[in-house]
Assembly symmetry: C2
Homo-oligomer: 435 residues x 2
């Protein structure tokens, strides 16, 4: 699974000052690419005029006033010792609030001592992989498709990533049980990016597999608070807290820039994760943790989620309607939850090519390459797809955004025609490109 390699490449070039992203949505070679100025080059990720990239919440809606109130209470009330050196588990006040919140809202069985506060999911999965590797583990399984970032991070620790396919019921546990791995990363509530829910049978089979192999299940619960068709699906961790590490973060429910995440782990593992975190960064920043504890305790997190859920739901509805109107050949799935929709492309059409031309036109969007993304267990017939995030785009802008994307795809057809390649396009693509 790639969330737009071309987009990342653009961002990198902008980050390195070779390209400039401009408000009008055009991207061009920077004027002063070869000179150095006294102002920093724009190394923040590029802003697209139209941002349909997945994994991004609405940071415009970040509750600044409420957060500032929590910061003010923290700075007026926290004991001075909280500003000293920290331990690797996190501030006790926050672990207490997180345990209560997760047990109530996500059905976990979490004790404050089992929680390790991290700087987000990326650090959490790095810590888990590092501890597994230190214990001698060599191989670690992931869903296929999955988020490419996670596979990259696990790979940096020396673990070999083993892709396991997902089908309409979620992870293929039968294939997993033939893989010799120390653990597996799953997204049971809302598979990324396909949006499937891990079925009750598969949940039971997965936990039985973990018992049989003394393996670890890592549950990435990245957007489960946003469920539109029913009550949120309870966390796997609640069934077997001794086999499952639960991973959550504030990145989707509040803002990625907070860099606040948490793991709920079996007690011995929690101690080791905390020791590893202590070694690499001396613990997460204190004031943010205390403010977040206050924010949860005063019901502000619940309030924010109650406010955002119908907003995101309406955006999803508008997006589905826009796709039906402007890109009817796409087949949207996984729309019952979260902040994104996967839309399968007609077979043979290259999603990366679409991402590239869309980026050049100021439109950011995610993609799913045909076949497997992280390894060899590809199902050759699987088509590619586009991943539409609706967290960072205003409701009123969605229809026009999809219409412009359809035009961009039409322009891709024209350039193929100019290059004399239109006859090489596969049937499904031709159908799409004929729009």
């Amino acid at each position: 699974m790639s969330r737009g390699i071309a987009v990342e490449a653009y961002e990198q070039l902008v980050a390195e000052g070779y390209l400039e992203s401009r408000p009008g949505g055009t991207t061009r070679v920077a004027r002063a690419a070869s000179t150095r100025s006294t102002a920093p080059r724009p190394t923040q990720p590029v802003q697209f005029e139209i941002d349909l990239r997945p994994g991004r919440p609405d940071v415009e809606a970040f509750p600044r006033e409420a957060w500032l109130r929590s910061l003010r209470r923290t700075l007026s009330g926290a004991p001075a010792a909280r500003l000293g050196y920290l331990d690797g588990r996190g501030i006790p006040e926050l672990r207490l609030e997180l345990a209560a919140y997760l047990n109530r809202v996500r059905g976990t069985v979490a004790h404050p001592d089992d929680i390790v506060v991290s700087t987000g999911f990326a650090q959490g999965i790095w810590l888990i992989a590092t501890v597994l590797r230190a214990d001698g583990a060599r191989r670690f399984a992931m869903e296929d498709p999955t988020l490419g970032d996670s596979a990259f991070i696990v790979g940096t620790t020396g673990l070999q990533v083993v892709p396991i396919p997902v089908d309409e019921h979620g992870l293929r546990v039968d294939i997993l049980s033939r893989a010799d791995v120390a653990g597996v990363l799953v997204t049971p509530a809302h598979q990324y990016p396909t949006g499937r829910v891990l079925s009750p049978d598969r949940r039971a089979a997965l936990l039985a597999w973990a018992d049989r192999h003394h393996a670890l299940v890592v549950e990435d619960d990245y957007d489960a608070e946003y469920r539109y068709d029913r009550e949120p699906i309870g966390a796997l961790q609640g069934l077997r807290p001794d086999r499952v590490v639960y991973a959550g973060s504030a990145s989707k429910v509040l803002a990625p820039g907070l860099r606040l995440g948490w793991l709920v782990a079996p007690q011995d593992l929690a101690t080791r994760l905390a020791a590893t975190k202590k070694a690499i960064d001396q613990g997460s920043p204190a004031i943010d943790q205390l403010a977040f504890a206050d924010f949860i305790a005063r019901g502000e997190l619940d309030r924010h989620l109650r406010r955002m859920r119908p907003i995101y739901r309406r955006r999803r509805d508008v997006l589905l309607a826009a796709l039906a109107r402007h890109l009817p050949e796409l087949r949207p799935v996984g729309a019952a939850a979260g902040l994104h929709i996967l839309a399968w492309l007609p077979a043979g059409l290259d999603p990366e090519a679409i991402v590239t031309v869309a980026a050049a036109a100021g439109i950011g969007i995610g993609s799913l390459a045909p076949g497997a993304a992280i390894g060899a267990v590809a199902t050759p017939g699987t088509p590619g797809g586009l991943v539409f995030g609706y967290g960072a785009i205003a409701e009123r802008a969605i229809d026009d955004a999809v219409r412009r994307l359809a035009e961009v795809i039409g322009g891709l057809r024209d350039s193929h025609a100019v290059a004399g390649n239109v006859e090489a396009a596969p049937e499904g693509a031709a159908s799409l490109l004929s729009r």
Copy 2:
């Protein structure tokens, strides 16, 4: 160099709930060590009744009002995009302010693009070691003695730590030049823990060595803002920004709990450090970075340092007087700067034993073991020492603290006498213990 292994062991036991640290300063086995309660166990580092541990600033003096003002301005003014996903270098506003501050106050030659914002020195040295290791480096040199934490962190990346002795002029560059290493970590402005300044000759020799061997010099500038005898000593980085990575943090100048640090690195290395940081934690938290940028820009950091410098200086003077009064056998060195003093013990007296009995009496203090701390290049004749931090203790409490420490050391003599071991104590120790 060990900053009190016994102290750390105590902290760990308290952290794991097996011991309780009590306000009266006694430590005892916890009542409910084997049961679990719903409140988190006390995993924050233990508070000593008397805290003379090094490396700790006065967190009671943290400028909460000014910091809150910077947070308020950040939350009312920052663009929403700053709350989205971050890059690994850090927020541009902060890098701009840090470059100006460091160039003005520390004599660096820093461009905002050369700066990587980290969560503190621990993460900074981890990032540097990780990138060196990825480039195929196998060995990395450190001063001997040095801070044990740094050696541990570098070791986790797979690099072998090579200890290089320091003498009264600082690092022995002649010995370094016979070691086959990819880089070296130094504390040129205020060697930790001996307090030496790297002499002008040695600075030149160190940079010449780095050129000859294409090696990297990492400059840990951990407490250079506190210099009492003269103007602060300019950073080595200012002489050769292409060979030196400068590392600083807010831990000593403001508070460790902020987890704010920075590296100034040659441009290509800065890019790779930022990419590694992005991979493991997606960048440091945004709101803290923006608040710190505002805090520097409005002169609050300068104001805080101007306020704290005379306070720490008076504490140092009181500590030196108390040592002369209550422990005249100790030989204090390195008192012209920083937040700690190393006091050499009479030869043969075991500093770890003193740390252990002091901890049991509620007194936290650091130690330097006799001979080398991180490896084999020991100078056998080097005595052990105690490291007195005066950052976290009130001026009025210092004389009594040193008097009580002298009593504790006296008690150690008594228990030796009971055990019939007093005749085994070396001459210098006997002199000390006779107090």
